[in-house]
C-alpha cells in the first residue's frame, strides 16, 4: 500500500523525492503568508531578512524579549520533549506543547528539521495529503500487522475501535486529523479534527490504547457484577473517589493506560461507563471541545 512511484510502474523517470518536495512546498506555503501560518500549536512565519520564525501560537503577541530564543533547529526536539509542567510528551501532536520559546531557523532545510522535531512526519504528510497522495492505512490493516503483546488488538470490536478513537484521537487530546477508518467500509464516527496535520494510520499510542480497550471488552463479557460493572470500572471509580476526596485528582501520565486516572482512559469511561451509571440518558456531553 505504499504510494506508487514512476519506477514502480516500470518507467525510467527519476526517483520522485517526496521528502524534498514537501520541504520546499511547506516553505513556499509559509512564504505566502507574511503574517504567519498556524500549524498544530505553533505559528511559523517568514522573516523579512530571510529565514523563518517559529513560536507557540499562544505566544504570538509577545515581544521576542519575553521568550527564550533558539537558533539551532535541532533544539526543537528539547522544546517538544516536555510539557509546561515537566511531563514527558510521548505524542507530539498532543495539545500540550509548552510556551515561552522562539526558534529562528535559516532556510527551508532548517525549517524542515525543526518541524520534524516539533511535529514528526507532519510536513511530509501535510504535503502528500494536499496533493491527494497520502496513503491511508485502516485500523484493521494496521492491526493485522501487529504481533507480540499487541496481537490482541486484532480482536477489538468495531465499536471498541470507534470508542477508542473518540477517547484517544479527538482534538481535545490529539491535534491530528484522523484520516483512517475502521476498515474500508466502516468509517470512523468520531470528530476527525480541525487541524492541518493529517493522521494516515493509527499511531503506536493508539495501538497501545486499543490493547487496553480490548482488555476492557473481554472483561465486560465475563466479569460483570449484579449492577453490570466490570472489575476495572470499579477500580477506576474507586481511584477517582479516593483521589477527589483528597482535594485533587492527579492524572496518570499521558500514555499510562494501565493506570485508572489516565485522561484517555477516563474519556473512554465517559463514553462507556457514564451511560451505564445514568441509564436515563442524562449522559455527559460527548465532547467538551
Amino acid at each position: 500500500m505504499r504510494a506508487t512511484s514512476p519506477e514502480r510502474s516500470g518507467g525510467e523517470a527519476p526517483r520522485r523525492n517526496t521528502a524534498a518536495e514537501a520541504r520546499t512546498a511547506f516553505a513556499a506555503w509559509v512564504e505566502e503568508a507574511p503574517g504567519g501560518r498556524s500549524f498544530g500549536q505553533i505559528v511559523v512565519r517568514p522573516l523579512p531578512e530571510g529565514g523563518y520564525e517559529l513560536r507557540h501560537a499562544a505566544d504570538a503577541g509577545l515581544p521576542d524579549g519575553d521568550l527564550d530564543v533558539h537558533v539551532d533547529p535541532r533544539e526543537a526536539r528539547e522544546i517538544a520533549k516536555l510539557t509546561e509542567g515537566g511531563e514527558y510528551r510521548p505524542l507530539k501532536s498532543s495539545p500540550n506543547l509548552r510556551r515561552g520559546w522562539l526558534l529562528r531557523v535559516e532556510g527551508e532545510r532548517g525549517l524542515y528539521v525543526a518541524m520534524n522535531y516539533l511535529y514528526p512526519s507532519a510536513v511530509v504528510h501535510w504535503h502528500l495529503h494536499r496533493s491527494g497522495e497520502l496513503e491511508i492505512t485502516t485500523y484493521r490493516e494496521n492491526a493485522a500487522r501487529q504481533s507480540g503483546i499487541y496481537k490482541r488488538v486484532q480482536r477489538l470490536s468495531d465499536e471498541g475501535v470507534q470508542n477508542a478513537a473518540r477517547a484517544c484521537c479527538e482534538d481535545a487530546v490529539c491535534l491530528k486529523k484522523t484520516l483512517w477508518d475502521v476498515d474500508e467500509n466502516t468509517p470512523l464516527e468520531s470528530e476527525r479534527g480541525e487541524g492541518e496535520i493529517p493522521c494516515p494510520e493509527p499511531c503506536s499510542i493508539f495501538v497501545s490504547f486499543a490493547r487496553r480497550v480490548r482488555l476492557f471488552e473481554r472483561e465486560n463479557k465475563r466479569d460483570l457484577d449484579a449492577i453490570g460493572l466490570s472489575p476495572s470500572e470499579k477500580e477506576d471509580l474507586s481511584a477517582l473517589v479516593e483521589a477527589a476526596a483528597t482535594g485533587s485528582v492527579p492524572l496518570a501520565r499521558e500514555a499510562e493506560f494501565e493506570e485508572p486516572l489516565n485522561e484517555r482512559r477516563m474519556r473512554y469511561r465517559r463514553l462507556t461507563l457514564v451511560p451505564k451509571l445514568r441509564p436515563d440518558g442524562d449522559a455527559a456531553t460527548p465532547e467538551e471541545g
Partner: protein, 259 residues
C-alpha cells in the same frame, strides 16, 4: 545522497529511552558529516515511527542501523516489517535500503564495554586483589540470543586477558545478577549493564536489588563499581557507523560470490 537511519525502541512513558539514539545521531552528524547527508532517528514507540521515517528521508542510499543489543524479535520481525524491508538489501522506489545488524554482536562492542569500564574506574581507588568484570544482560527465556550476546562479549573480553575474571549475570534468567555480584571471587567487582539506555532497571531495580549506593559501593568483602549502560557511551556512535559501513562490505562480498 546517503542517509543513516538509527532505529530505537523508544518509550511511551520514559524520556530516557530514546535519548541515546538522539545523542548518537548528533555525534554522527558531527563526526561523519562528509559520509552521511542525513542522519535521522526513528522509533517503535515514539515519533517518527519506523512506519513513516522513510517518507522523511530525501536520500536514495539509506543505511538502517538498529540501536538494539541483540538479534531477536525486534531486529528480525518488527523492524523489517515496519520499514518494509525484504532482507539485508531492499530496493524500492529507486532507493536502496541496507539493513545492518544489531550493536551488541558487533566485534567492536567489547572495546566500547572496556572504554565504559575505564571511564568508570578513572580516578577511583580499587582494593588490592582481584578485579572481576561482570556484564549484566536482560535475559529472557524466550530469546536465546538475548543472553547469547552477553556471553559472546564476555568471551571476547576474557580472551584479551585484562581482567582476572569476566562473568555474566541477568535480570530475568540464570545466573541472577545479585548472586554473581555477591559471589564472584574478587575484591573489586565492575558491573556494566549491556543495555541501550538508562531506565527503570538501571536506575531503580538493579541498585535496589544489589544494595548499591551509587557508582562505588563499599561492601564488607568487596567494592562494587556500577557503570552506566554501555549503549549510552559516545563511542556507540562510531559503532553505529561501522555497522552501516559493514553492509556495503557485505554487499560487495555477495557480489563477488555471485560473479
Amino acid at each position: 545522497m546517503k542517509a543513516l537511519v538509527i532505529v530505537g525502541h523508544g518509550s511511551h512513558l520514559n524520556e530516557d529511552s530514546s535519548l541515546p539514539v538522539y545523542e548518537h545521531a548528533a555525534l554522527v552528524r558531527d563526526r561523519y558529516a562528509g559520509e552521511f547527508d542525513e542522519v535521522v532517528e526513528c522509533f517503535w514507540k515514539e515519533e517518527p515511527s519506523m512506519r513513516h521515517v522513510l517518507d522523511l528521508v530525501e536520500s536514495e542510499d539509506i543505511y538502517v542501523v538498529p540501536a538494539f543489543i541483540s538479534e531477536g524479535y525486534f531486529t528480525q520481525q518488527v523492524i523489517p516489517r515496519e520499514l518494509g524491508l525484504s532482507g539485508p538489501v531492499t530496493r524500492r522506489d529507486g532507493r536502496t535500503i541496507r539493513y545492518a545488524g544489531p550493536l551488541g554482536t558487533y566485534e567492536g562492542m567489547p572495546d566500547v564495554i572496556l572504554e565504559r569500564v575505564d571511564d568508570l574506574l578513572e580516578g577511583k581507588e580499587t582494593r588490592p586483589g582481584r578485579t572481576a568484570l561482570v556484564l549484566l544482560g536482560h535475559g529472557t527465556d524466550l530469546n536465546k540470543n538475548s543472553s547469547g550476546v552477553i556471553y559472546l562479549n564476555a568471551e571476547r573480553i576474557r580472551e584479551r586477558g585484562v581482567y582476572d575474571l569476566v562473568e555474566v549475570g541477568f535480570l530475568d534468567q540464570d545466573p541472577p545478577i545479585a548472586e554473581v555480584v555477591g559471589g564472584v571471587e574478587a575484591e573489586n567487582v565492575v558491573l556494566i549493564p549491556v543495555f541501550i539506555a538508562e531506565g527503570w532497571h538501571t536506575r531503580e531495580t538493579i541498585p535496589e536489588d544489589l544494595g548499591l549506593t551509587g557508582e562505588v559501593t563499599e561492601m564488607a568483602d568487596r567494592t562494587v563499581f556500577y557503570g552506566a549502560p554501555v549503549g549510552t557511551h559516545p563511542s556507540v556512535a562510531d559503532l553505529i557507523v561501522s555497522r552501516a559501513r559493514e553492509t556495503d562490505e557485505r554487499e560487495a562480498e555477495l557480489a563477488r560470490d555471485v560473479s
